[in-house]
Structures are given as structure tokens and as C-alpha cells.
């Protein structure tokens, strides 16, 4: 029996789908209802650590500031490289010009923080609703503060972005200011998506060993040292949530290298092989370079496989990492996928991943959290990957969970993190078995 047929209202959702037939080859449960996800502002928490010369100024409400400190545990830094310009009654009632107020706040901020070289004005739900033009503000303020500070803008609002889409919007805002790679320059590789520095360095070493030397990274560790882009750029997505950034890069002539995402030994191999193929590297050499780290990853994963094999897992929508992670857990650790939910399914970027996921797996896009939780209660998976608001309540119902957010903050890409990634799923299960209280 199809898992979808058993669900109320799902068939109707499918029937209403207005996507072309070719795209709906495999059934996807599309849901609309309460979404239990972070908004795109949350991306600031890792982006500000990655780009060490950048500051993120959210133009929003007290809720935005509260979200950032609650999600990030921000009380930690007396002066982190982000802040919120909280709009007040005066700004909304037209008693003051919001643009003037923004100038005042930005000037004060830049005066106090001379170390800032790039300032992102980040739009929020309220700033979008009142149509506060941050592009105009960025242009105006940029004219004053360039060359010392470059001022850019993007929206991390919850009405437009879900969680990791905030990074997508931020990187897309960087693309227009990337230097141009001249038309006669040799082919260059561009890795797109923020990675922990240690993982980024591992990949750069591997590309070097493969013989690909011209490699750029977006975002760069310093937002002012952006890599070049042009018709000879071939880009490789390190993260599955970068649809807008990819479009912006294509707009500047770059072409995407189709690959699986670099999770697990197989995903990482496929990702590196795809790049090597594009750069005409000899296949035998590629296999020679990959052999050792790949074998190391397999060895490490073999230790964890007994703990995860045959275990049933459900992903609730969170970071868009769900599909590639599900593929990894299924193919390399033998887990059984029950439901793979994702806030947004980018079919083109995920095509090779989706090929690996069988038709018996319930794939869902969007969310109606109450119905989804009903399905979790019916399915009773061994482990459910979900957000922080849902984890303890599900544990309290006897369902083991894994906080999805940890998957975004931990180094999980590449060969040498494959076992760390598996461990994130194995630990809650092990703990469940250990506790005798």
C-alpha cells in the first residue's frame, strides 16, 4: 500500500499539483499548514563566524532580536558581529523617516566597529511588509562608506526564506560584487556554500592532490576577498540549499557541475569525481587520490553501521539537507527511510540524490506540522530528525529524536567527517539503550 494513499487529504494535494507531469514522476506529498521552522535570519549565526570581516545588521523587530539570541545563545558575545535595528512605533507611524533612522544606526555602528569591512543590511518580515527599501539604503550608505566598508543587502525574512535559505540569499547578494574572471582565463573551480574552515581546508587539499589548483570558495573567509566568476567558472555546490545563488552564478556565466552532495564516503567521492571529470583529470589518478581517504571513511563508518543498520528514520523539514543525508544513511549505513520531509525540494540540484531514494520512501515538501506529527506517531520511527521546538515533546512520547540544527552547525561534509555525521544519529539511539531510568 502506498504510504500516501493512507493519508487523509494527501491524494487531493497531489491532484492539485500544478507542476508539469515530468516533474511529478515520483509522488511528493506537498503540504500547507503550520511550518515549524526557523526563518532565514538564523543563517547569520554561522555566516558571521565564517566571514570574519562582515557584520550583519537585521532591520526588524524585537522578535528578530529575540530569535537570534534564543537560537544562537547569543548572550555569549558582548559584541557579536550582528545586531538588530529594532523598529519602533515612531518608525512605523511616519514620525521619523525610517531611512534616516537607518543611516543614523549604521553610522554609529561603523564608527564603533572600525574592523567591519562588509556590512549586510538584512531584511526581516516587518521590514518587508512595510516595504522598507534596503537595496536603496545599501546603495546610499555604500556611497558614503566605500571603500572602507562595502554595504550589501538581502532578505532573511520568514515570509520569504526558510532557515538555510538565509545563507542562499546572503551568498546570492555577494555574487554581483564578485570580480569578473576574464574570458580568456583558464577554467576555475568554485566551491559554493559555507563550510567549517577545517572541512574547507580538507577539500582544498584534495583538489590540490587531484591537480585542480585554481579553486575559489564562496563565501570567502574575508568577505572582501571574493573569488572571481565568469564564463570559465565551474561551480560545485557544497550545500543543497543554494538555488538563488546558483541562478545568480549562472547569470554571470558560471556553469554547475552536477554531482551528489559531499556527505559520506560515496557522496564525497561522487562530488570530487564530478569536479575532476570536468577538469579533465585522468580517472586512474582520481581513484588513486581518493582511495586512501575513502577507505578511511569506510573503516570509520563500519564501526557505526551495526548501531544504525535496519533502524527506521523520519526527517521533518528543516534545513534542506534532508534528502542527501537520507541518501547517506540509507546507502552507507543501511537505515530504512520512512519519511523524508524538506521545506523545499530543488529537483535539479537533488536529481542524483533523488535517484537513489526508492519509491516506497514518503517524500514530503512543505509542512503541516500537526498532520506530520500524526504520521510520526503512526510510523513510530526509531529516530526522528526535527527542530528544537519538537524534540523534547516527541521524546516525552517515547520517540527518539535528533536535533536537526546540529546538522547545520557541525562539520559533517567530506570523508573525514562521514563517521562524525553517522555518530550524530547513532548517539541518541545509543543513549536511549544505555539509560535505565
Amino acid at each position: 500500500m502506498s504510504p500516501i494513499a493512507t493519508l487523509d487529504g494527501c491524494a487531493a494535494e497531489l491532484a492539485r499539483s500544478d507542476r508539469p507531469a515530468a516533474e511529478t514522476q515520483r509522488p511528493v506529498l506537498r503540504e500547507r499548514g503550520q511550518r515549524e521552522v526557523f526563518c532565514g535570519l538564523t543563517g547569520i549565526i554561522w555566516l558571521h563566524r565564517k566571514m570574519q570581516d562582515a557584520f550583519f545588521l537585521v532591520v526588524g523587530s524585537r522578535t528578530c532580536a529575540h530569535l537570534l539570541q534564543s537560537a544562537a545563545g547569543v548572550m555569549i558575545f558582548a559584541e557579536p558581529r550582528f545586531a538588530t535595528a529594532i523598529m519602533e512605533e515612531r518608525d512605523l507611524a511616519g514620525m521619523v523617516d525610517a531611512q534616516d533612522e537607518l543611516d543614523r544606526v549604521v553610522n554609529r555602528l561603523l564608527e564603533r566597529r572600525p574592523d567591519i569591512r562588509t556590512l549586510f543590511l538584512v531584511g526581516s518580515c516587518p521590514s518587508e511588509v512595510i516595504k522598507l527599501d534596503l537595496a536603496k539604503a545599501a546603495q546610499r550608505l555604500g556611497a558614503v562608506h566605500m571603500p572602507r566598508v562595502r554595504i550589501l543587502n538581502y532578505s532573511g525574512s520568514g515570509i520569504e526564506t526558510t532557515f538555510t535559505q538565509g545563507e542562499d540569499a546572503c551568498l546570492a547578494a555577494l555574487v554581483p560584487v564578485m570580480p569578473t574572471l576574464s574570458a580568456d582565463a583558464p577554467k576555475e573551480l568554485l566551491i559554493v556554500g559555507s563550510l567549517p574552515d577545517i572541512v574547507e581546508d580538507q577539500f582544498l587539499r584534495l583538489f590540490g592532490e587531484l591537480g585542480i589548483d585554481r579553486v575559489g570558495v564562496l563565501p570567502a573567509r574575508n568577505a572582501r576577498d571574493l573569488p572571481s566568476v565568469g564564463a570559465n567558472t565551474r561551480y560545485l555546490l557544497a550545500q543543497p540549499f543554494l538555488g538563488e545563488t546558483a541562478m545568480a552564478l549562472e547569470g554571470r556565466g558560471a556553469r554547475r557541475i552536477d554531482a551528489m552532495f559531499p556527505f559520506g564516503a560515496e557522496g564525497t567521492s561522487d562530488w570530487l569525481r564530478a569536479a575532476a571529470r570536468e577538469f579533465g583529470i585522468d580517472a586512474a589518478h582520481v581513484e588513486a587520490v581518493l582511495a586512501a581517504p575513502r577507505a578511511r571513511a569506510h573503516r570509520a563508518l563500519a564501526n557505526l553501521r551495526p548501531q544504525l543498520e535496519g533502524k527506521r528514520i523520519t526527517f521533518l523539514p528543516d534545513s534542506q539537507l534532508e534528502v542527501p543525508l537520507a541518501r547517506f544513511l540509507q546507502d552507507e549505513l543501511g537505515m530504512e527511510l520512512i519519511e523524508v520531509g524538506t521545506p523545499y525540494l530543488h529537483r535539479a540540484h537533488l536529481a542524483r540524490e533523488l535517484d537513489r531514494i526508492g519509491p516506497q520512501v514518503r517524500l514530503s515538501e512543505g509542512q503541516h506540522v500537526e498532520r506530520q506529527l500524526d504520521r510520526v506517531r503512526t510510523d513510530r520511527p526509531d529516530i526522528t530528525v526535527c527542530g528544537l521546538g519538537l524534540a523534547n515533546p516527541l521524546e516525552n512520547e517515547g520517540l527518539t529524536t535528533k536535533w536537526a540544527i546540529e546538522l547545520v552547525f557541525s562539520p559533517i561534509h567530506g570523508f573525514d567527517q562521514a563517521a562524525d555525521l553517522a555518530e550524530l544519529f547513532a548517539r541518541p539511539l545509543r543513549r536511549r539503550d544505555m539509560l535505565e531510568i
Binding site: G33, Q34, R35, E36, V37, F38, C39, T42, I45, R49, S61, R62, T63, A65, H66, L67, Q69, S70, A72, G73, V74, M75, I76, F77, A78, E79, P80, F82, T84, A85, I86, M87, E88, E89, D91, L92, A98, L102, R104, V105, L109, C125, P126, V129, I130, S157, G158, I159, E160, T162, E370, L388, G389, L390, A391, N392, P393, N396, E406, F409
Partner: protein
Amino acid sequence: MQLAVWTYEGPPHVGAMRVATAMEKLHYVLHAPQGDTYADLLFTMIERRGKRPPVTYTTFEARDLGKDTAQIFQDAAREAVARFKPQAIIVGASCTAELIQDDPAGLSEAMNLPCPVIPLELPSYQRKENWGASETFYQIVRNLADKTLVREPREGRKARVNILGPTALGFRHRDDLVEIRKILALLDIEVNLVAPLGATPEDIARIGAADFNIVLYPEIGDEAARWLERTFAQPAVRTVPIGVGATRSFIADVAELAGADPTPALGDTSSRMPWWSRSVDSTYLTSKRVFIFGDATHAVAAARIAREELGFEVCGLGCYSREFAREVRAEAARCGVEPLITDDHLAVEDAIAAAAPELVLGTQMERHIAKRLGIPCAVISAPVHVQDFPARHSPQMGFEGANVIFDTWVHPLVMGLEEHLLTMFREDFEFSDEAGASHHAAHSPRKATVAPVREPEMAGAAFAPAPAIEAAPAGDDSLMWTAEAERELKKIPFFVRGKAKRNTENFATAEGRRQIDLETLYDAKAHYAR
């Protein structure tokens, strides 16, 4: 626009959530975009609640704007009522939904829902969390209280009381309530209702049956209590029983309103704090300089305990809630300090650095500030952190609360006898400065030459990104210490050395001396002698 890095209070709808989550069989339909659901994790992660807050968010998106956000609200409300079958719902908007003006009140009224609907107007761009909680609780009481209820004659029954104010995500509300119930049991008084914590809408209906009210947390309960005073002629006890003296006054006030004998409660033999404070080993606490910051109720109570029950000197007092600034100003006047009423934590940090206290009593934010400055600290107030929900019983109120406060405040300090030993044996290699207090290392001051390290720490909610070391502020280097004076400074025990250095430098600056020699050092010591 106000530039904020960190806020003491969330938006007002989070206050409403604290009330809704505290109650049973009440549901909150909140018109809000996706992302606002982050607030759930405050309750499930920080407070470790095993249930989701009873909140349905409409989570509208940009493409819905100007089309069918009103319909989305009505669908969400209808579904929530059908699924959760609440006895009543509260409806309202978050900051974004307030801007699109869908009027949740009007929309839900038009729906003929099978339960009472209480509309909330919480202006997000003017007000904050505590006000939101207070207003929500007031509206719930006003809408649900059975106004036709006639109180039974007092003769032949126990006195009845309502306890108003405890909510979800409150600072030790769970444990305070246990202590208050204990006192009321000793006085033979019946609890008619505790609200919001644990109350259902049907319970609220009979709120008028009580003879009087106890306003445990004025920030949340006072607005409702004033309405109850007018509507049901219920007097209120407003003494907040934090500290031994306040607990005694509270017992006396409650007993008087109930016509009960206060003796059994006043004679509670588990009150150890007075003796712990009078015993000779506590002498070293005398005139320790404390800086206090928190919500008004806890800050004022802390100041009184510090002065009257521990013999501290209050060198700074403030709160982040403007609504209750008056109480803090009055207490600050009694302490002889300027009140600090602000929600800018950077201003608080500056004030603490300037006051150079020996102990900070504050919120989680002040705990971080104190850690950076190398000053011992204890937490006395919300905003809360996962550490503020200990597994053990840990009240602030009542005699047991005073016992807990004694331990919590005194523990971070270097102990009295140890202070003397460190002075006596300071030349001994085993008593090196780096050793710090023996009973725990957490508060040992850093070496003066090391820049303050801003360490990341879990806020309870989520995760901590990679450690960040931000640039240390440049010190005042216009003053020059002679080598001899510097050597002498090093002979001063480390836990007072920082203060001695600051005092000496302040003294030198005030005196216009550019160079600090032995003479200046001891002149300053004489100047600051107390």
C-alpha cells in the same frame, strides 16, 4: 530605531505564550509568519517542557500577503479548536501580523467558534514580554471570570485565596509556589486558585470565590489583581516574600487578611538563614559591595536582603522594566545609589565596571558580564537560562527560599577563613594567585595582563558556534606605575588586587598624579579605608 545586540525581554506575544503555556486547556492562535515558531524552543529546551506550547501559528508567507492571510487565520483557528478542543482560545498577532492588520479579534468573532475567544491587542512596537504576559493574564481573567458569582459567607469555612502571577518560563516560579502553599497550609488557608500556572479557563471562572489575592509576581499579576479588587472587592497582598524579613511581613499580611494566627508559619524551624548570617564565619561578608540588576521585583528584594540580611553594601541597583521603575528608584534611594533603569546591556556592563563590585547579582546577561570582568556572580532574575531550571527544589520565596539565596550568593565568594589563609600564606608557592578559591575554579580571576576572553556558552536553547575572541578594549595607559609600587601591588591578595589597582588609579587620576609610587598606593589605601 534602537540598536540591540541582546534584549532582556522578548516581544509581548512571547509574554502571552508564557501565560498560555502555563495554563491547561487554553489555546493561543497566533497570526505570525514562519520563523516566529522559534519561541516554542524557549519552553521545550530552556524549561525542558515535555509538551509543545499550546500555540498554533498561522505561518503565512509573502505570497499570501494581500490575498488570503485572513482566510489562513480563520482556517488555523478552526483547525486548532477542532484538534485541541480547548475550553477557551486567545487570539492575537505577532509584530509582522500587526502590520498587515487582519484583525484576528474580528475574524474570530465572525466564526462562531464553540468556545470563548479572548482577543489580545499587544502592540509589538511599543511593549515587551512582561507587559504582554500581564495584559494577557488580565484579559483572560476579565473575560472568563464569572461576575455573577457571590462569595460564600466567611463564617464556618476556611479563608480562601488566589495566588496570581506564576507562569511558564518564570524564574523559579515552580518552586516558589511550593513554598507559598506550605505557608498557606500552616495558616490553614485554602487555595481557591493558582493562575496562570496550572489553571484551566473553567478554573478562572470561579476566581471571584476567593476572599483575597496574593500577587506573587507583580510584573504579571498586578494588573489582574487591581481589576479583581474593583470587581470582587478582593484585597491583595503585595508583599513579595523573598528574604526572611519579607517572608515574615508576607505571613503577617496574609494572616491578617485571613483572620488567622501567624504564629505557626512564623515559627517555621527550617529558617536557617538568620543564624547562618549571624554566625561569626559570616563576618567577612560585612560591607561586601554588590551590584544588583534584574526585573524590578527580584532586584528590589535582592537589595533589601543584601542590606538587611547579609550586611552587604549595595553599590549599584537597576532594572530593565520601565513599568516598575518607581519601586526600584525608591529602593535605590534607600541604598544611597543612583538607580539604573535601562534595557541596554552595554550600559549595564559599563555601570558594573565603574562600580567595581565584589559580587554581582543579576540576570544571565550580568553573569556573562561578571565573568568577563572576573567578578563573582549569582543569578537572581529572568530572563532565564537552562541553568535556572534545576532538577532540585530551589525556590527564592519563603524561608527555604532565603536559605537557598544565602547559599547561592555566598558560594561564589572566596570564603572568609580562606581569605585569611591566602593572605597569611601568600608567599607560599601552593597559594599562588593562579590557584584561586579552592572550592571551585569558575570564578578565579584571570591574570591582569590577559585580555578578557569572551567565551561562548550554551544559552540553553541551542548550540554554541566556534569560540570568538573579540578585541579587548584599550586600557588607560596614561598612568605609570613605578616598579616598586607594582611589586607591592603583587603582594596584595589577588581577589582584592584588581580593586586595589582600580582604586589607586582612580585616586591618582583624581589627585592629578601621573606616576603611581608606593606613596600613592598607600595614600589611596588610606583614602578608601572604611
